[in-house]
């Protein structure tokens, strides 16, 4: 079975490295980008199955990335999970309205993040995804 590829977009190199190792240990391929511009170019080049996206980025922010991707036909349907230090009370709803599948506030619970990723695959394959309450 082909491994799923996940693009990690975060300007915090420590978190990128940690997420990369964590996701690889769960059998995912990973690519990384450290700013909004390279996030879009990496998405075009790598065609990831999913994007983990920080909101606070150099050269734009996560909302700009979501907006740009949504206007590129071959990238518009890539599922996005936002992982941000920004206040979830403000940014969760805004992220979901912008097209994100889920929002996690840093520091992120690794098990819940993994469950959210698997939820995306379940949703794509027509299976009933588990609810956020079940994850928590």
């Amino acid at each position: 079975m082909n491994k799923k590829k996940i693009l990690i977009v975060d300007d915090n190199e420590d978190l990128s490295k940690g997420l990369k190792i964590y996701l690889r240990s769960h059998n995912y391929l990973t690519v990384v980008a450290g700013d909004a511009v390279s996030a879009i170019s990496q998405a075009k080049k790598e065609k990831p199955d999913l994007i983990i996206l920080d909101l606070g980025l150099p050269a734009g922010d996560g909302y700009l990335v979501m907006d740009r991707l949504s206007n590129i036909d071959e990238l518009a349907t890539i599922p996005i999970i936002v992982v941000s230090a920004r206040d979830y009370k403000v940014h969760k709803e805004r992220s979901l309205n912008a097209g994100a599948k889920a929002f996690f506030q840093k520091p992120t619970d690794s098990v819940a993040l993994l469950a959210a990723i698997e939820n995306v695959w379940a949703e794509q394959s027509g299976l009933r995804p588990i609810t956020e309450e079940q994850i928590i």
Partner: protein, 138 residues
């Protein structure tokens, strides 16, 4: 006062729980990781004040964890104490060379471990020695 955070990395769930309860009972904030990858992710985003690290882990080993943590700008200087069933006459020197501050072979004396934790936290942040649970005047 902000509690010191200790990340415990061990695939033995019973030990993880017992040590968590013990550390929490003396005033530490505790986070837990059952494998190497989770440990690295938690170290990268949680910035623990100290890591208690088993060597034998399901998806790697403690040496790998130490190596990666040393590359994290936010956690490179976090003190690591190894707790392992592996014989210390074989592994202690390698663990210290890899950056560990101390080595405890299981089974170990809890009081000795607590003393080592307080010592390493105080050494890492000399100005905050008074905030150590064992040294608190409250």
């Amino acid at each position: 006062m902000v509690k010191k955070n200790i990340l415990i990395v061990d695939d033995d769930k019973d030990l993880l729980l017992a040590l968590s309860v013990r550390l929490a009972s003396v005033g530490y904030d505790v986070s837990r990781a059952p494998d190497a990858a989770t440990a690295i992710l938690k170290a990268a985003q949680g910035k623990p004040d100290l890591i208690l690290l088993d060597l034998g882990l399901p998806d790697g080993n403690g040496f790998f964890v130490m190596d990666v943590v040393r590359q994290l700008s936010s956690a490179a200087n976090v003190p690591v104490i190894v707790i392992s069933a592996r014989p210390q006459d074989v592994y202690k020197e390698a663990a210290i060379l890899a950056g560990a501050k101390d080595y405890f072979q299981k089974p170990y004396r809890n009081d000795d471990l607590m003393t080592a934790i307080e010592r390493e936290l105080a050494a890492a942040m000399p100005d905050s020695a008074a905030s150590m649970p064992g040294l608190s005047d409250t």
